[in-house]
């Protein structure tokens, strides 16, 4: 892998057992009312897209994972995160 600039996304959402009233409202009052009954659930979250200089995509991902834990980009008491390379 080559050093370069990578785009890394962090998605923060409530843990499955922590209610997500925003997702529930979007589901109930928009999607189901709009007739899309195929959609059985919605979770709303927060997305952070970061540009990261790193030696490889794995490194970029590891940096973002570490900063997410160190700086509490999410609160582990209530949230889960996904970190993914998108470019």
């Amino acid at each position: 892998m080559t050093p370069g600039s990578y785009v890394v996304e962090v998605i923060v959402e409530n843990k499955p057992l922590a209610r997500d009233p925003e997702g529930e409202t979007i589901h109930q009052n928009l999607i189901l009312k709009g007739g899309y009954n195929q959609v059985t659930g919605v979770r709303a979250g927060k997305l952070l897209r970061m540009n990261v200089e790193a030696n490889s995509p794995e490194d970029a991902r590891a940096i973002v994972r570490k900063l997410s834990d160190d700086l509490r980009i999410y609160n582990p008491a209530a949230h889960t995160i996904q970190v993914r390379i998108v470019g």
Partner: protein, 237 residues
């Protein structure tokens, strides 16, 4: 004589209310301190007031929780000094890991500004030792992110350690769903750390400490500041 710091963050807006109650009502030496100017543990107690901080971006309190002032507050808390977080101050203490759990967006998805009834669940803290267990206080809330959350399986541990300090209750003093203004788990309105000296709550006792501020002509919130005074100066204070 004890000295209290009310710490101002960029966006604090209940700092002057807390100052007035502490300085002019319960008569404790109190100073407003900008968070970046708090460099040493020079005070006997700390109050993190309500309002906002850093626009509450990312999450309410999350950025302020990284302020160097929190290192001082943590040190003071570890030394057993009383620390009170009100509303945004509670969110900051939670985000800094000084209190357990998280404070999420209200289940109603609305900013809620209303009077609530709080049941005192423990009197072991420096902010409730002048109250009676089970006493109900009328104290207002004003927040958008006030839904206290902790995994359900951790609640019994919190109860066992007497870390639930306040619950929202009905007129009949019951922790009912209707009395819960924001969807907090188990109607929890305020918690403390394991030792009991760090307390955070979403309601605003500083807005309920003068009769003139209350629709019912009461000053229930004052017991929290009187308790603090008693902790700092002894029961005769």
């Amino acid at each position: 004589m004890g000295k209290v710091a009310v710490i101002q963050y960029p966006g604090s807006n209940c700092d002057l209310d807390a100052l007035e109650i502490l300085r002019d009502v319960v008569k404790t030496r109190t100073r407003l301190v900008w968070h970046k100017d708090l460099r040493r543990d020079d005070y006997d107690a700390y109050v993190l007031p309500g309002g906002f901080s850093y626009g509450d971006y990312l999450r309410a309190g999350a950025i302020a929780a990284t302020s160097p002032s929190l290192r001082i507050v943590r040190e003071a808390a570890e030394g057993g000094k009383p620390v009170l977080g009100i509303c945004n101050g509670f969110q900051i203490l939670v985000e800094a890991g000084l209190l357990p759990g998280a404070v999420l967006r209200n289940s109603t998805l609305r900013f809620v500004c209303t009077w609530t009834r709080l049941r005192v669940e423990t009197t072991r803290t420096p902010f409730t030792n002048g109250a009676e267990k089970g006493q109900v206080l009328e104290v207002p809330i004003a927040h958008n992110e006030g839904r206290y959350y902790l995994d359900k399986d951790q609640i019994p541990g919190l109860e066992r350690n007497q870390q639930v300090v306040f619950r929202y209750v009905s007129e009949e003093r019951e922790a009912t769903e209707d009395a819960n203004p924001n969807g907090s788990i188990d109607n929890i309105a305020g918690v403390c750390n394991h030792k009991g000296n760090v307390v955070g709550l979403m309601p605003h006792p500083e807005r309920a400490s003068l009769r003139v501020l209350s629709p019912d002509n009461q000053k229930d919130g004052r017991v929290i500041f009187d308790s603090m005074m008693r902790t700092l100066h002894g029961p005769g204070a």
